[in-house]
């Protein structure tokens, strides 16, 4: 027990250390490139808190990232490298938009229908690579990348040829019927009721993963697929269902973007948000309860980077470098092992002096 708690603290310290190291690197780069590095970095680190709309941007971003992060967390926990979130997000945004544009009904019903339609499409779009992987052992990285490309083409196709009104100067749809818009709950921001979905989704994924037989099967499959298989788990079913369920959350992120943020269907609704979800999930060590925390952190970085770009001579792409460093440091398990070995050696020395005889691994 003591050992486990120690492990938890170690993980926490490691995450914080990783973030600090990445931010430090970002600062060093800023020092080299900026005429006013301190002001630029202050805008980056404190910017999101300075105005209501900036605070709003941060929270809006975090809602999207939480949902995408949960989608990634599910598949990664089952050790499936599905990168389908990007395409599912596009389809979720599209389908909720179609419902928002072409149907008319009372508000609550309209929103619910749009959300359910988006979730269903996300589920089905995840089921395809899931079945291909489960029954044919088709490489899920390749199949999901292809399906993303197809999904984005479908999105552009329908947006350009069906949804765009002829008189529109650029490629956007009309605004949705007001009944299909998510109510905004904080004045001066675009924070909508989607924040409640995000919170609920965190607990749903947690419950699914840790309190249901399916979740147990999922975690076992991720830990060791052969062991799970010989232990009687239907690993094929786990694989395709996990990839399909993950699609629901990615599609919800898309629905949030079109019904909550933009209120219409726009071109390039996500520029790689599906991949950003990977950072969120990795930093949370694929633990659903930690995902809102890392999403808030990462949403903060992105909102800060936007403000830095507008108020200084440093461009927002700095945050992408920081993001990459975080991924590399978090995934480098050899790096972790090295640190742990150092700790163990130190503890070994303490043991030899007879200070602590309790827990040895």
């Amino acid at each position: 027990m003591k050992e486990r708690r120690k492990q938890g603290w170690f993980e926490f310290a490691r995450a914080v250390g990783t973030i600090l190291a990445a931010l430090l690197l970002g600062f060093i780069i800023t020092l080299f490139v900026s005429k006013e590095p301190i002001a630029a970095y202050r805008a980056f680190l404190l910017g999101p808190l300075t105005r209501t709309n900036r605070f709003g941007n941060w929270i809006e971003e975090s809602i999207t990232l939480t949902l995408v992060g949960l989608a990634i967390c599910l598949v990664f926990r089952a050790r499936q490298f599905s990168l389908a979130a990007e395409g599912q997000l596009y389809l979720g945004a599209l389908v909720s938009g179609l419902v928002g544009l072409y149907f008319q009904m009372p508000a609550l019903l309209h929103v619910s229908l749009a959300v359910i339609a988006a979730a269903l499409v996300g589920f089905l779009w995840g089921l395809i690579p899931g079945l291909l992987k489960a029954y044919l052992d088709a490489n899920e990285i390749v199949s999901t990348l292809m399906l993303n490309a197809i999904a984005i083409r479908i999105y552009n196709l329908i947006l350009t040829y069906r949804l765009k009104p002829p008189e529109a100067g650029y490629t956007v749809s009309r605004y949705f019927h007001p009944t299909a818009l998510l109510p905004r709950i904080v004045p001066e921001t675009r924070i909508t009721t989607a924040i409640f979905w995000a919170i609920a989704a965190v607990f749903v994924v947690y419950f699914l993963m840790y309190r249901t037989p399916f979740g147990y099967a999922l975690r076992m499959t991720g830990a060791n697929i052969r062991f799970a298989y010989y232990g009687g788990i239907n690993t094929k079913r786990v694989i395709y269902l996990t990839m399909a369920i993950s699609g629901i959350f990615a599609a919800l992120a898309g629905a949030h973007l079109s019904m909550g943020i933009h209120q219409r269907v726009i071109l390039n609704v996500s520029m790689g948000l599906g991949f950003e979800g990977i950072v969120v999930s990795l930093l949370a060590r694929n633990n659903p309860l930690l995902i809102p925390v890392t999403a808030l952190f990462y949403g903060y970085l992105r909102a800060g980077a936007d403000i830095m770009e507008r108020s200084s001579d440093v461009t927002r792409e700095l945050v992408m470098v920081i993001q990459a460093v975080i991924i590399l440091l978090v995934t480098a398990e050899g790096f972790l092992a090295f640190l742990q070995r150092q700790m163990r050696i130190r503890r070994g020395a303490e043991l030899a002096e007879g200070k602590e005889a309790g827990d040895v691994i």
């Binding site: 291909l132 199949s143 470098v321 050899g334």
Partner: protein, 325 residues
Amino acid sequence: MSFDVVLRSILSAAFVGSVIRVATPILLPALGGLISELAGVTNVALEGLMLIAALVGVVISAFTGNAWLGCLIGVACSAVVAILLAYFHLNLKADIILSGLAINIASSGGTIFILYLLTKDKGSSSKLASLSLPRIAIPVLDGMPVLGPMLSRHNVLTYVAVLLVFLIWVFLYRTRLGIHIRAVGENAEAAGSVGINVRRTRYIALMLSGVMAGLGGINMSMGYLNMFQRDMTAGRGFIALAAVHLGNRRPLGVALASLFFGFADALSNQLGSLAIPPQWVQMIPYAATVLALVVYALQGRAAAVERARRLQERLQAHVEATGGE
């Protein structure tokens, strides 16, 4: 009527020429992806490696006035980053997919960042007087009526790419190192047990994939276009990865798959005169790749069943011959 126009333009020699032109920056990284894939390490960083080489090539050529030096240093940078990726994967035990994606993110952001530093422009390097690699007129072919416009006056890297298809085939199937690479990818433990240095082999494979992706990036910014644009690879690194699988992980197959992607791309550009939305055509190669995954999987399974059946027969025959002992 307009369908007629499109059909005629597709059957023209110029169209074949444009397919080859468009296929080159897919083929080069795809050959790199093939080498690393065969070594058992999926290099998803091709996209980012291309961007790095594309930018470095442009910048170096603009500052030194030497296009070839730009090409060389660009490819070298791409190879160095590929080695860094190999270090994270092979020494620090980072997952190859995730660290590859990290390289992509860093490259996409990093190249824009550096572009802005150098030109105060986040869109393109049009302010830099960068150079391109030469186009080559093939002596005899050039004058010919149909073959000339098809095959001559392409960028030098197009010819390099064609040459590399054969060189890489020889490398993978006829040299010691190539066979080691395939052995490591087939079964790393078995390869290790007969004395092949798995880690070193994978380092080399990833480095080579970095070189190929780098050539592809140089082709983008110093041939296909004459400048660097933000995220100019536009997913070609991922398409290259798909071409590896569509081509059933063989050099010639990869070349044909790249041509197929090039064909669809060139065709969608031609469709402007028709009422068919280009997205339909753009989707075809992606859907074909998914289909190819299915077909190869079924083939693989059929082959396994066949092997098992033959083994069964041989056992049966053996049992009958020995009278059930």
